[in-house]
Amino acid sequence: MIVYWLCFILFLVGLYGVITRRNLIKIAISLSIMEFSTFLFFALVGYSEGGVAPIVDPADPVKLYVDPLPQALVLTAIVIGLATTALLMAVIIRIYRKYGSLDIREIKNLRG
């Protein structure tokens, strides 16, 4: 059960980074860390002790397989995380070119 505690603590570290940091790149890195913790949690829930990887070999029957359903959900989520990070980076590049700094308090104070 200590693995579940550590996984939640990783999520909280990412959340702390999103709340208290002022630089935009630090906020993007913390968002990425929160996503990694949820992937780890899904893979932990589907694991069975003594199971093998979910690939069927017709000549060698096996009794216990690891659950394939959480792995299918995480497979989709990893590629969507890449798309989200790329879009966030595009917005950061435009903000830096227009305002000249990456600090969220200075961006709020300037008006166009």
């Binding site: 990887a53 690939i55 069927v56 017709p58 497979l75 990893i78 590629v79 890449l82 798309a83 790329a86 980076m89 595009a90 590049i93 070119r97």
Partner: protein, 145 residues
């Protein structure tokens, strides 16, 4: 942007083709070994990114506007949708059904419509990632105030 040194260019000449072939292998054997459409697509995109970074955009004469990668991506997406609708029109009247007869388990030509899905999703993912890379990093001088 400028390219890299001579050692990197010579090594890239030897390796980039092999990475592309490895990506095709992971896609086509998606229903037999771990991998599938998404992993193989990203590996194929990786070989293109390696070529662009090693030789520089001046040498490859990349145009300062949209290249043809979005055409591949849109065509692959349309074929995926057409394969999904084809279950509705041709086979039994159910949307998204696996209607091609499935062979024996473990052979390369088996599992119905799954290898075709893998191939077209792989092409679409590869074209998406190359387009994102080109738009963020290479095409820079087009933005004007």
């Amino acid at each position: 942007m400028k390219g890299m040194t001579t050692i990197v260019k010579q090594t890239t000449k030897l390796i980039a083709g092999m990475i592309f072939m490895y990506g095709i292998y992971v896609i086509v054997h998606g229903h037999l070994t771990p991998g599938g459409g998404f992993a193989g697509g990203v590996i194929m995109a990786g070989s293109f990114i390696l070529l662009i970074l090693a030789y520089g955009s001046d040498f490859l004469k990349l145009l300062k506007e949209e290249s043809g990668t979005t055409m591949y991506e849109n065509l692959a997406m349309i074929v995926v949708l057409f394969l999904a609708v084809s279950g509705l029109l041709l086979g039994t009247h159910v949307f998204f059904l696996n209607w091609i007869p499935k062979g024996t388990v473990g052979h390369l030509v088996s599992a119905g419509i799954l290898p075709l899905y893998n191939i077209f999703v792989g092409i679409e993912v590869a074209a998406s990632i190359v387009t994102i890379f080109l738009a963020l990093i290479i095409f820079k001088e087009e933005v004007s105030k």
